[in-house]
């Protein structure tokens, strides 16, 4: 497997692959990152939340709904599910990080098996829309390599705006930093927790909806497709949700795309995992932990 020769075309192909990988990692991660970064709960059922978005999209689509409308269905389904889960289960696990992992793992088992029991072993796939771009001998999917990365960036920008610019975002952050004081400031903290969790779930649903036509077969164990990348990216990113997700996705997808393109997908996968291990060792607080540190040092020197 000799590496492909360098040319404008092959570099373009590499760029599109980077975008493809970047979009995937950001979208796979962002819902998990919100729930982990904001609420301190590791949601091991994250893959199943995404899966609910997938099923919520595929079922109306196969019933005849146009794809964009079906996607809305996926987001709504995952959001509602998130609200129910927060009210009944997750609420009891704030500040009990490890227990939250165990509980949500149990939830994951239940959800994926129930999907199997109710909807059978597989739903028909949905074709990827938007076609491709051709350049030289190569082509890339417009949906995967242009549309999804663009949506991923928009999601990050949107989240940044929501959590730093809106009243809701500020109240949500206040609630998470100090729930008791927040309550004394007139904030309905229960609602804030539920809303934040719902946003995380809704984003997972969005990921599911967006990937429903890019997954191939839709089966009840599809959730695991997203799990590894999302966990790796969350911890490599570090405590700051948005910047962390962005930077982790950027770094991981550079290695993933380059490795896959020149040496095959196995090397791409291994590189991603190995880079994650090295990154965690070198930056125990993730990239944003390091960036904060560095910024502080810079400011101190000025």
């Amino acid at each position: 497997m000799a590496p492909l020769t360098f040319s404008v075309y092959s570099l373009t192909a590499l760029l599109f692959q980077f975008l493809n990988s970047f979009g995937f990692i950001v979208l796979a991660t962002v819902g998990l990152a919100i729930i982990f970064g904001m609420m301190g709960v590791i949601n091991l059922a994250h893959g199943e939340f995404i899966l609910i978005g997938v099923y919520g999209t595929a079922l109306p689509y196969h019933a005849g709904a146009p794809l964009p409308l079906a996607m809305v269905g996926g987001v709504v389904a995952a959001t509602l599910f998130g609200v129910v889960v927060e009210r009944t289960i997750v609420r009891r696990f704030y500040d009990r990080l490890l227990d939250s992992m165990v509980a949500t793992w149990g939830l994951a088992l239940v959800v994926s098996q129930l999907l199997l029991i109710v909807f059978g072993s597989s739903l028909d796939s949905i074709s990827t829309p938007m076609g491709n771009v051709d350049y030289g001998p190569f082509s890339s999917s417009v949906y995967r390599s242009i549309f999804l990365p663009a949506v991923a960036l928009l999601v990050l920008v949107g989240l940044y705006a929501v959590f730093t610019r809106t009243e809701f975002g500020i109240k949500a952050r206040a609630t998470i930093e100090d729930p008791e004081t927040a309550r004394a400031m007139g904030i309905d903290t229960d609602r804030m927790y539920t809303s934040t969790f719902a946003i995380g779930s809704g984003l997972a649903g969005l990921t599911g909806a967006l990937y429903a036509p890019a997954l191939g077969s839709i089966t009840p164990n599809r959730g695991s497709t997203f799990l590894v990348e999302s966990f790796v990216a969350v911890v490599v990113g570090g405590p700051s949700v948005i910047v962390g997700t962005l930077s982790a996705a950027g770094i991981l997808s550079v290695f993933n795309a380059t490795g896959s393109f020149f040496f095959g997908t196995f090397i791409g996968q291994m590189l991603l995992l190995l880079v994650a291990i090295v990154a965690l060792r070198a930056l125990p607080d993730g990239i944003t932990g390091y960036v904060d540190d560095w910024r502080q040092r810079r400011r101190a020197e000025e």
């Binding site: 910024r295 502080q296 040092r297 400011r299 101190a300 000025e302």
Partner: protein, 257 residues
Amino acid sequence: MSTPQDINVRQKPAVAATGGGTSTILATKQLTKNFGGLTAVDGVDFSVAEGEIRCLIGPNGAGKSTLLELITGQLAPSDGAIYFDGEDLTGLDTHKRIDTGISVKFQSPHVYENLTVEENLRVPLQRTDRDVDRVLAETLDRTALSEKAETGASELSHGEKQRLEIGMAVTLDPKLMLLDEPVAGMSVDETDDVADLIRSLHDDGMTFVVVEHDMEFVRRISERVTVLNQGEIFRQGPIEEIEADEDVRRIYLGENA
């Protein structure tokens, strides 16, 4: 970091530490710590003579707690060096510094909530080669916790937790004890008990550095006081001198203190 001057300090410390004890046991040289834009400790030369009780006072954010955490190694300095008992501690891990004879009690109580009082004391004690049963009984007695030996630490009152923590630090039989606000939130009686405890340990030859806001308490135990302000040593001297100092009153004590 290790310039010839640093070594000089170790050999010929006593820059500021006159009076009090005989020889310098702890010295920091140009110790600096930055947090982001904030310089919490700024080029501090702080030295303590063997056998003295030194109180550190100063406004909130003056860098007192940071200074203690730099000495114990929980924070790494941005610059400068720390010497203790003739050894350069600067790059050492916390646990190695403790082995040189430093012990510490932090500001808010950090007892092991899920262990009993006795188990709490055993944790530090089991590391030493001291006679466990004897020291245990002695420490329980000294901290007036004998009756609570079997009680879970989470059930102790605030004052009892503070005493337990001092007791835990004491079991290591350190040469130098660092105490951060040992009487915060204590009643008058409890404060008295702690003051007595410190004095009696001092009589046994232990050196103390105590961070405290309670000036009444400072007056009772202290020989010399160091005032920190904005990360720098602002004044240093006997308690009477410090309390009379106009500038200290302005920045810290307040006019009618």
